[in-house]
Amino acid sequence: MMDVLHFAVLTMLLATAFFAIWFKGLLPSAISLSMFSLMMALEFYILQAPDVAIAEASIGAALSTTIYIFAIRACSKPRKAGGGDKQ
């Protein structure tokens, strides 16, 4: 039973990591990354590390996602063209 759960969590880890990079949009990516962190927390719990699981859940899933969303918001406001690698 535990092994089946473990396999499911490992598969979800790979899938969420894959989709975090694969999605075209940035917001879906950030949500997928948040799911990745949550799955990681679950994995830590299965590996008998509740201390690390709490830390990963609060830091990875909540705070990290928050700052990712801040960054995405800051970078998606339309700006005038120019810049780039031209001086």
């Binding site: 201390d51 699981a53 709490i54 609060s58 830091i59 705070l63 700052i67 801040f70 800051a74």
Partner: protein
Amino acid sequence: MKPLSLIVRTGCNLFAWFMLVFGVNVVVHGYASPGGGFQGGAIVATFIAFLLVSYGGEKIHSWVNEKIYDLILEETGLLLFITLAFMGLPTSFFYNFFTIPWEAYQQTGRLFPQGTTAIMSIAVGIEVAGALSMVILSMFKGIRLVSDRQIEEEPGHDR
């Protein structure tokens, strides 16, 4: 930030206070149950993230001064932590200087927090809560700074 729907905002507001209490609980009971300084501090820091969602940035910035987080929370935690480390110095840096003997401890029922670890845990909890809240607030401020206001060249570059 665009205002979200009323249900989300109210839910976040309620949830935030729950997270605050839960975080403090995790910090304080870190010596005997899963948790401790980092984990609890991080949970407390989600409090400010939820408040940002429920009330919006302008209100939060008008309520809390960043100096609260910077000077009071963070400095208290860091200085308490390093002072505790220094206090072990006659023996060695980081020495755990007031442990109770094992026999005496067993008689108290094994739930009494003791040794420097419990205090250090609280110190780190305060520090981490202040630090992560500060990160969230400054990055939120950074959105406005980046998009609206010009980051001007500083006078130091002029000759």
